[in-house]
């Protein structure tokens, strides 16, 4: 069975508070916190890119997994905020890691790309060996453009995460991928989109409505298929979109909100990077214990959504 071998993350050092954004958006800092649960987020420095942040997360992931870049057989890179149409950041990240010749695939799936990458990696690792999934987002470059949207700009931040997936479950204590479900439906593709040289367009009502229904449904489908009750899951590591959404999904599954790891207060929504940043933090503290069930879930533009279940053996 494929296994999760470790996580890594990188967030820029610059902290952007609600007070700083409120002054630019002519709103109250408390309003931002009330509607999103976000107190601050990180913005990348001008010289930092989707590529450079992705490399930083990849290097931390490899270090934590006690692996070298030369141990990788493939990389998958998710980003909805890469700086150019093509090539995407995957080839540049692979090159910077010294992986010329190793297949490097871009997944331009905002918000849900890291989950799709992890699920694909569990299948592809049987062919390619160790697969490094990276998600890197420089959302500030998108939402800080004038005119800044009060309902959009405060929600997002920058960062990167990485997850290493190997083809074989290791000794006791390693983390086996049990199963995953992935779905896509373009019915509401226009409701969350980023056109070239245009501001981010988000129909918040539609996004929240669909996410509120589809995420619990995907998790429920996965748990039913694997004959596990939601109450047996130790931690839910979900895309960090909005604290209200995390709470809503917890209620729908009838589990304590405390089991949904949340760092949204500190980083905001870092799109596809958020789930891996959350996983990297949780993996460090408190981290997995024997027999823990860990459920990943995400929802993003497209819409794409799904869930992945892992278990510590």
């Amino acid at each position: 069975m494929p296994a999760i071998l470790g996580f890594g993350a990188y967030v820029p050092s610059r902290v952007v508070t609600n007070a700083e954004l409120a002054a630019r958006l002519n709103c109250e800092a408390g309003w931002i916190l009330d509607v999103s649960g976000i107190e601050e987020r990180r913005y990348a420095a001008p010289e930092e890119t989707v590529m450079s942040m992705g490399v930083a997360a990849a290097e931390q992931c490899l270090e934590r997994a006690v692996m070298k870049a030369s141990d990788l057989g493939m990389i998958l890179v998710s980003s909805g905020s890469s700086e150019r149409r093509f090539p995407g950041p995957a080839a540049s990240i692979a090159h910077t890691l010294g992986l010329d010749g190793v297949p490097a695939i871009d997944l331009p799936i905002a918000s849900a790309g890291s989950l799709f990458g992890m699920a694909l990696a569990t299948s592809l690792s049987a062919i390619h060996g160790n697969v490094l999934v990276i998600a890197s987002e420089k959302m500030s470059a998108i939402v800080s453009r004038d005119p800044m949207e009060r309902g959009v700009a405060p929600l997002f931040g920058d960062g990167a995460g990485a997850c290493l997936v190997g083809p074989m479950t290791g000794p006791e204590g390693s983390v086996q991928v049990v199963d995953s479900v992935l779905h896509s439906d373009g019915t509401f593709a226009e409701d969350l989109r980023l056109e070239f040289d245009a501001p981010l367009q988000m129909n918040g009502r539609s996004v929240i409505l669909q996410a509120s229904r589809k995420i619990p449904s995907a998790i429920g489908e996965l748990l039913e298929r694997t004959a596990r009750p939601a109450s047996a899951v130790k931690v839910f590591l979900m895309h960090q979109a909005n604290q209200n959404l995390l709470d809503r999904v917890a209620r729908a599954l009838e589990v304590d909100t405390a089991r949904f790891y949340s760092n949204i207060r500190r980083y905001g929504n870092t799109s596809s990077a958020s789930m891996l940043i959350a996983a990297a933090e949780w993996w460090s503290d408190p981290g997995p214990n024997k027999r823990d069930l860990i459920c990943f879930a995400a929802f993003g533009a497209g819409f794409h959504w799904g869930a992945l279940l892992a278990e510590v053996v």
Binding site: F188, G204, R205, I208, L209, Q210, S212, R213, N244, L245
Partner: protein
């Protein structure tokens, strides 16, 4: 209760607001509902009318006013 009264009762319950919404006034613009109340409204409507709305049908515009909600529900009866 007729369908409209049942819908109004649900809007009042979800919004925690006992005033009577104008049937053609936006429930969002008038402050009865916000984005996070919409999923609750739809779940309550599904329960009250014994229906399961397909996700692909769920444009928020269908739930913008009492009249639109009634029209959508009655189209599915």
């Amino acid at each position: 209760m007729d369908n409209r009264e049942r819908i109004v009762a649900i809007v009042r319950k979800v919004s925690n607001n006992n005033t009577l919404p104008d049937p053609d006034e936006s429930l969002f613009d008038s402050g009865f509902l916000d984005s996070f109340a919409l999923p609750d409204l739809i779940s309550e409507l599904e329960r009250e009318f014994g229906m399961k709305f397909p996700d692909s049908n769920l444009s928020p515009r269908k739930f913008e006013t009492i009249t639109r909600i009634q029209s959508y529900i009655e189209s599915r009866m």
